[in-house]
Symmetry: C2
Subunit: 129 residues, 2 copies
DNA sequence: CTTCATGCAAATAATTTGCAGTAAG
DNA sequence: CTTACTGCAAATTATTTGCATGAAG
């Protein structure tokens, strides 16, 4: 159970209902886009506005509370910030799975100072093969 | 010197002026987004329409003539299809450099059939460090 | 010739902004 | 209390579509 209130406060963000709910929704889904967060939260929280989600996604990205996962030809999804990992993205069902992978993660490049890595493998998951 | 006319025809696309020019613009830039293609080509070809660029980018992606390079928080860029490589994306100047990297490219994942890889390293290029 | 592509304008979708009212600390 | 956040509506930006005309093969 993640303490979203502390997480937000540690990152200089007021812990509003809207923010904790957005984080909960992202955590439940693992990886989710803005429209799906909205649909998810609207059910239990009908007055929530899409603009609020947009504004908070931007803020939480800036504070590194969440990470953007851009998807080819679709809208970006978002995930909670966690240890470095790669994404296995199923081209058939769209599901995203996280995977630790040291061989991908420990590398130096000449003349380039790496700040962050984005490694997405597109293909077919076990179910869709 | 790439023969864009043959490239298009081999991929079941009519070789129109617009398409060859879009490919030339992408090749000149290396990696470029739709608005910048438009600005680039407008100079020498003022009647070109943005809708035509959108339509053709979609077709050329479908035919695998070009590849989408999604960029965190920005519009996607496009590049000509070429051998597998990774991208070094400078967070300061926005420049993208291609790099071959075998250690990234030869890998199998259990229970996942990889179709394509997208490996972007964000950081600071030599000039911006 | 025939078919498909283009360019325009209009439609739709996505994202951002301004502001009055509200909640967090 | 004070400052920052929310929700709404409006504005802006991005993308797609329909259709008459023009170009490719």
């Amino acid at each position: 159970m993640i303490d979203y209130i502390s997480l937000l406060k540690q990152n200089d963000l007021k812990a509003t209902i809207q923010r904790t709910n957005i984080l909960k929704s992202i955590n439940r889904a693992g990886h989710i886009n803005i429209d799906d967060i909205y649909d998810d939260l609207k059910k239990s929280y009908p007055t929530l506005s899409l603009a609020t989600i947009y504004k908070n996604i931007i803020l939480m990205l800036e504070q590194n509370v969440i990470i953007e996962v851009p998807i080819n030809g679709k809208k970006s999804k978002y995930e909670l910030k966690k240890d470095e990992h790669i994404h296995l993205i199923c081209k058939s069902c769209g599901n995203i799975e996280d995977r630790e992978l040291d061989s991908y993660c420990n590398i130096d490049i000449e003349n380039f100072k790496i700040v962050s890595k984005q490694i997405n493998l597109y293909g077919l998951c076990k179910n869709c093969q």
